[in-house]
């Protein structure tokens, strides 16, 4: 599923992004019945439809999406040229469960194991994260959650199950927040998606516990082309978490998910992502929420891993007084480009949005903020606040900011601020004078920089995040 990165990469970048593939090598059993093969054609799509037993409307939807995908050019006129290194013909677009790569714990690279140790990940989770086990066995923890959810009428299944068993809820919103033709990668996802979650929260139900993807059993949680649809009915509230701070040892090089959120009148959705793919992964994700009257959609997003991430979570505020928020942390180390940001589309009066983005560039890493705020004509009283701060650790680190703000009409207010700075010599000196070494001093300063955002994450995530930043900072100075 991997391919040789282009020879255009210099040796240093290559070293930084490559993982020890010899340890993780695996083979696919040659069983044509379950293998969609490499590359993407109409046959691949038909194959996926057959295996997943898709209804005819979905088959048509996938074929249309494939056409759009093939027609659309790569967005390299503004995005990173690195996208040209993706060889779409070398990728396997669908693997059924029977073909999941099998790997033993001994095959997992040492550095990944060390990271698990440092983060304090339980043994059982480690096996799952390393790809040794196909899924995380959390039956005990889950059954309690499941019972309570069922009692409240919550639907929490994978997307395939969602579209088969709950078509009446699933279909009206599926592909409505993010149309197939939104961008090349949303079209790709629409053509070949499998896995991901479908969640429906009935009217007035407020979930006290966050839902997590890995609570779900027998699911293709971290699929390559997952598709998630969350619908919160009137007055409902939920928090959903995906990913985890631990590095996910991944051999697939392209990850392209689509996540659609629908918050009906007065509903609240918080979507927490922590992305730490291994540094050979292209992570090209489209995420968007629709907020109706008085509803709120919050994206809390943290990108640490991957080779190139392109992700701009968005909120369309369609009802009066709707609210959108994106809180984003990005950490780009050598060989990585975190191209993240936010899109806020105001489509009703008195809607408010807030974007807070902090990025850290370490070594030769590059962090980019790209944002769009759109307030069209004939609306009144819309507000947007955007803040993006970047921290540069080393002399060859790089950061960019490209916001675009359109305000039409009156009684709106928008403000955008961005700053770029580095950890000051004085601060490091002060800390080192008190007995910390340079690395510790640097991590403390960096943790301080993102502290107010880390607090937005659930407790266990924020603890792990801090440890992870310590880890990334090691050896970055001196």
């Amino acid at each position: 599923m991997s391919y040789q990165p282009s020879a255009t990469l210099d040796a240093e970048t290559h070293d930084a992004i490559s993982v020890d593939r010899s340890k993780g090598d695996f083979t696919f059993p040659e069983r044509n019945k379950l293998d969609a093969g490499r590359g993407l054609t109409d046959k691949t799509v038909d194959y996926i439809c057959d295996v997943k037993n898709d209804p005819p409307w979905l088959r048509e939807f996938r074929h249309k999406a494939l056409k759009v995908f093939l027609e659309k050019p790569l967005p390299t006129h503004w995005a990173s040229k690195d996208l040209e290194n993706i060889n779409f013909d070398e990728i396997r677009y669908y693997l059924s469960d029977g073909e999941k790569p099998k790997r033993s714990w001994d095959d997992v690279p040492d550095d990944i194991k060390r990271t698990f140790d440092r983060l304090g990940i339980p043994q059982q989770e480690r096996a799952f994260l390393a790809g040794v086990e196909a899924q995380y066995d959390s039956e005990a923890a889950y059954s309690n959650v499941k019972e309570e959810l069922t009692k409240q009428g919550v639907i929490f299944v994978n997307s395939t199950e969602g579209l088969h068993q709950h078509e009446e809820v699933f279909r009206p919103w599926f592909g409505k927040v993010i149309p197939t033709s939104d961008n090349k990668f949303s079209a790709l996802n629409s053509a070949v998606f499998s896995g991901g979650s479908f969640i429906y929260i009935p009217k007035g139900v407020k979930l006290k516990q966050p839902l997590q993807a890995y609570f779900r059993i027998n699911s293709e949680n971290f699929g390559q082309f997952e598709r998630t649809l969350i619908i919160a009915d009137e007055g409902a509230e939920l928090m959903y978490m995906e990913g985890c701070t631990a590095p996910k040892f991944e051999t697939a090089t392209l990850h392209s998910a689509v996540v659609e959120l629908v918050a009906l009148k007065g509903a609240k959705i918080q979507y927490v992502t922590v992305q730490n793919w291994s540094s050979n992964v292209f992570n090209l994700v489209t995420k968007r929420g629709l907020a109706m009257e008085d509803a709120e959609v919050r994206w809390i997003d943290c990108n640490i891993g991957s080779r190139l991430t392109i992700k701009y979570p968005g909120v369309i505020m369609k009802g009066r007084r709707a609210r959108g928020e994106v809180i984003s942390i990005a950490l780009a180390n050598t060989g990585q480009h975190q191209d993240t940001g936010a899109k806020m589309i105001h489509a009703a009066d008195e809607t408010t949005s807030n974007i807070v983005s902090k990025s850290i560039s370490v070594g030769k890493g590059r962090a980019t903020y790209r944002g769009q705020v759109h307030i069209p004509k004939h609306l009144k009283g819309c507000k947007n606040n955007t803040e993006c701060d970047a921290l540069l650790i080393n002399t060859n680190s790089r950061t960019d900011t490209y916001p675009a703000i359109t305000v039409k009409g009156n009684r709106h207010s928008t403000q955008h601020e961005a700053s770029v700075s580095q950890v000051s010599e004085d601060m490091l000196f002060y800390l080192m004078q008190r007995g910390l070494n340079q690395g510790q001093a640097m991590s403390l300063a960096v943790n301080g920089f993102i502290n107010d955002l880390v607090r937005e994450f659930p407790m266990e995530y924020s603890v792990e995040l801090k440890r992870l930043i310590d880890l990334e900072m090691e050896g970055s100075v001196g």
Partner: protein
């Protein structure tokens, strides 16, 4: 639509230096080769591409001969032969009238007036050694000096095609060269008049300062009449030598049926200080591209602009603060006032090259929305490839708050006057950065004329 301006390749004269004719020919092929900007080009995001259709515009064939009773004049075309002297469309606007209308500052070091690229008036009291003459003359008399500075930078803000067209077509403009250690106390004032229907002009201003020299150049761009559509593709090339101070002020007050592409390129050497200020009150559509390149430590560039857009005017401004050298400073402040159906675009980028450490760069764009139907687009950007930098940008869009209006009304000022007062105060903050009162009054004069026309249209 590969060549939106259907002008024939400019004919060049034997009187011009060979390097110049070669550059013009090369620029013409470049102009033909570069595709016209289209929707989806990042450099033209939000722009109204339709405005780039320049079909129907042509060069003026000259100016009427200056009357006997007119003020002193120079006729460069007689010496260079660039333009034939054939009176035509400007008949309604004899140069003498335009010269009379060219009011500006009280104290000037030099005053030059151009009508459709022809110098019709020139007076100066400049210190010896300072060159201040039309580009057409300078090309002949100081060819090597012009060649050393003429259009040296790459146009990188989207208008490469139009910069090439300008280079291929330029026939006249200004050349100012201030030698080492010469300081000019009063500004050099230049007036450009665009006369006649569907006329296109390509004025070029090249200002070069030597070591520790000081100069301030003020240019005013106006139309002779209110109803004739014109097109100006102007270029100003500013090169500030080490330790020098170069201030440039452009006042764009064409009539509201004309279009403008104004490209500015500034370079600041070690310890040089440059200030660029643009006021936009005129034109139906104006595109300003402003690039400051900080080439030495201690260099400083202030980029300032006030735009007052009303009716259906569109102002499209792109800026680039390019920090090539470490230890330089740049600060940008652009303010837009939007009335009626007006639209503005601000796209700014601070780019810090690898190794340009200890950079201080700031960028602020503020939009004040004065109607329900205007549209402000802001794209403030940063690209940082160095460490130990202090960079920030900020952009705001808002309307006047009811409290502010209430405060002024409580003091007996009616709401229309109150709004105008606040709008004026909002813009004057930028002018104050020029630190020159007579110049501020001149700019305020143009602003007030615009406010008056807005008030008149709304009553």
């Amino acid at each position: 639509m590969n060549s939106p301006v259907p002008v024939p390749a400019p004919t060049t004269s034997a009187a011009l230096p060979a390097w110049f004719t070669t550059r013009q020919q090369a620029a013409w092929s470049r102009y033909l080769a570069i595709p016209t900007p289209k929707r989806g080009d990042e450099m033209w995001r939000f722009s109204n591409i339709k405005q780039l259709d320049f079909t129907g515009f042509s060069r003026s064939t000259g100016v009427p001969p200056v009357r006997e009773d007119g003020p002193t004049s120079l006729s460069p075309h007689e010496t260079t032969g660039i333009l034939p002297v054939v009176p035509d469309r400007q008949d309604a606007y004899p140069p003498a009238d335009l010269i009379a209308r060219s009011s500006g500052l009280e104290d000037t070091a030099a005053k030059l007036i151009f009508v459709n690229e022809t110098l019709v008036h020139s007076q100066s009291s400049l210190p010896a050694g300072v060159l201040c003459l039309s580009l057409a003359e300078a090309l002949v008399s100081h060819s090597a000096l012009v060649e050393a500075h003429f259009m040296k930078q790459e146009t990188r803000l989207g208008s490469a095609k139009f910069a090439a067209l300008h280079e291929a077509s330029v026939a006249n403009g200004m050349f100012v060269h201030v030698p080492d250690d010469v300081e000019i106390a009063h500004p050099i004032e230049i007036h450009h008049w665009l006369a006649g229907s569907n006329t296109v002009i390509f004025p070029h201003t090249l200002v070069v300062t030597g070591r520790h020299a000081k100069v301030r150049v003020v240019e005013m761009f106006r139309s002779a009449g209110d109803l004739q559509p014109g097109l100006a593709i102007t270029f100003n090339d500013l090169a500030a030598g080490p330790g020098s101070r170069l201030d440039y002020v452009a006042i764009q007050a064409f009539n509201e049926v004309s279009r403008v592409i104004q490209i500015n390129e500034t370079s600041a050497a070690r310890d040089a200080t440059t200030t660029g200020f643009v006021l936009n009150t005129g034109a139906a559509w104006a595109r300003n591209e402003s690039l400051s390149r900080l080439e030495g430590p201690g260099a400083r560039s202030d980029m300032l602009s006030v735009s007052i857009a009303a009716h259906a005017q569109e102002y499209d401004q792109r800026t680039f603060q390019h920090h090539v050298s470490p230890g330089a400073f740049s600060d940008l402040l652009y303010k837009n006032l939007l009335y009626d159906f007006a639209g503005t675009i601000f796209s700014g980028l601070i780019s810090v090259d690898e190794g340009a450490h200890h950079t201080d760069a700031y960028q602020t764009c503020r939009n004040l929305l004065m109607s329900d139907t205007c549209e402000a687009n802001s794209m403030p950007g940063l690209e940082i490839n160095a460490d130990q930098v202090k960079c920030s940008h900020g952009s705001t869009s808002s309307q006047i708050s009811e409290e502010e209006i209430f405060y002024l009304r409580a003091r007996g000022i009616d709401s229309a006057a109150a709004r105008q007062l606040i709008a004026r105060g909002f813009s004057i903050e930028v002018l104050a950065r020029l630190g020159d009162e007579p110049l501020e009054s001149l700019v305020i004069g143009f602003m007030d004329a615009k406010f008056a026309s807005i008030a008149k249209a709304n009553n």
